[in-house]
Point group: C2
Chain length 333, copies 2
């Protein structure tokens, strides 16, 4: 537990090693998680999500600088293959990140996708907890904002920013119908571009409208339209997401975003919503762990040849995957 | 099983009802799945993935028309909140879709995100199987191409098209590092725009380079860079993705895409790769089912009050989620 104590006191090398330990889920991971968890609950987790091209990485960078300026320790977790934090970057971005990377009060971690469904959200939760326990005040989680895992990750944040930008084409506008549901603060970045006012108006109209799913029949084909990627929507909220304009590249509008985040966090603290979200998040995390643990236990009890044979039979269409799953489960002691 | 027989003979109403049945996972679902599954394995599943703004829905539309022209039955599954098939559309797109929607040889289904991790990939697999069994020759699955669930869904395809477009900004270019790994065919759509040749060259260079993950230390911060969203990458492939240019809005270049898909499918049939992918897909589906089934069984055996109490203790930081999961499992008979 020496390593854990070092990490808790903010030693960066120890934190990095701890993260690897938990990611690899080795024999020490359980004890590590248990010790770490008792020290969590202080950090504010802020999700920043948006399509590629909206400049959300630059916004994350500027928010990090603002919080640093206020003396806060800042963690950045990039769950986005397009993020400069993840290396999918152009030179200009990397140069901007350099100010942060040299700052001992900033810890940056990019999450690799592991190829297994759900692993990403859980790994992100683990890293968030380690940063939280290590004394980071603000944790910025950047996701690409399209895709279910990303929505699940955004849902794990206390406050979720959805970033838009003008002039990304009509199809991009359409993404809002789904993503609006998870927004606590809406940011129109690149607001010096043509169309910024239009983007704000469109968002305003969408907020007024509300995004309710409906099924329409369209020339004999039934389609579900405007399905919200509902995350926080289960609890009716009194919070109306403010719409803010920024030019992150020039640092413009950042203070207003920081203020809006602070107001939202005050709202969470005063209303029931903070508590409701926290419980929903815990329940989801618990279920994800149970799912993985149960599968791992099952796999341990199965002979590899049994599994291969089952796959053969499914491939030959002798049995469907659901019935095969039942058979495998029935064979357990 | 009357409904199943009707669906197998291609009755659209029966298919729609069957899909609902399987989605709601009601008491009939198990028998339905088992019957359906025996009739699957004929359809070619083609994933079409790309960022918003690349025009992939229009490409899907044109591919569907081309296959229809060749006398094939076409299923379209849209797993993308920005897709016009899902209703997140502008008028022009909807008008283009109308030709398809009125065609009895085309079945369109949009998938709602359900809010639970993993559900989307499984539901998509179920719908694919129903369309396959109902005699649809080609199933086009459209995903937004960013996000882990979407990658998992793309992985379930026999052939995956990755769609790019010129002039979507530098950040969009960066997405390729991750997404290239799952591409069997690369399409630069909107090729009449400035920058198309550049986009092709950039893709070419990236293919030459290969996308290998590497860890770099950058001003004391360790980052993993260029992490591939590895899907098919576990099996070294002799297939080099062709890069094709299209102007889907004008129907240009579609024939070449259809040809490339056919060549890839011939390659899959001749090499081991088709079989390897099919087995990997079956194994992933089986594991996903096992995970959900195991969790559901566990939840049935737990008193709701027990679960609520566990959430309370986690919220109070008395226990971490992993240890709590272990406790819940230990309590089982």
């Amino acid at each position: 537990m020496e390593l854990v104590n070092q990490a808790l006191s903010g030693n960066r090398r120890a934190m990095a090693r701890l993260i690897s330990q938990v990611e690899n889920d080795n024999s020490l991971a359980a004890a590590t998680r248990a010790t770490i968890y008792a020290h969590t609950g202080r950090a504010r987790v802020i999700g920043v999500t948006g399509a590629p091209g909206t400049g959300k990485s630059t916004l994350v960078c500027e928010l990090a600088k603002a919080y640093r300026h206020a003396g806060q320790m800042v963690g950045i977790i990039a769950v986005d293959p397009t993020s400069p934090f993840t290396g999918g970057a152009i030179l200009g971005d990397r140069i901007r990140m350099r100010d942060l990377a040299g700052d001992p009060g900033v810890f940056i971690r990019s999450m690799a996708t592991r190829g297994n469904l759900g692993g990403l959200a859980r790994a992100t939760a683990d890293v968030t907890q380690i940063l939280d326990a290590a004394g980071y005040d603000v944790i910025l989680v950047e996701t690409v904002g399209a895709g279910q895992s990303e929505v699940d990750i955004a849902r794990a944040a206390d406050t979720t920013l959805v970033v838009e930008a003008p002039g990304l084409g009509d199809e991009v506008q359409a993404i809002k119908a789904g993503i609006l549901e998870i927004a606590d603060v809406l940011v129109v970045n690149k607001a010096d571009r043509d169309g910024a006012a239009n983007a704000v108006r469109a968002l305003q109209a969408m907020l007024d409208l509300g995004a309710t799913p409906r099924t329409v029949s369209h020339h004999g084909v039934t389609m579900t339209v405007g399905v919200p990627v509902s995350a926080h929507s289960d609890s009716a909220s009194d919070w109306r997401p403010p719409i803010l304009q920024t030019v992150a590249l020039e640092g413009k509008g950042i203070t207003k975003v920081v203020d809006a985040i602070a107001r939202h966090q005050a709202y969470l603290a005063e209303s029931d919503e903070g508590e409701t979200r926290r419980r929903a998040r815990i329940k989801a995390e618990l279920e994800a762990i149970l799912r993985e643990t149960l599968l791992r236990r099952l796999m341990k009890n199965l002979a590899p040849a049994d599994l291969a044979k089952t796959v053969d039979r499914i491939a030959a269409r002798e049995i469907d995957p659901h019935t095969a799953a039942k058979e495998l489960l029935a064979r357990l002691p």
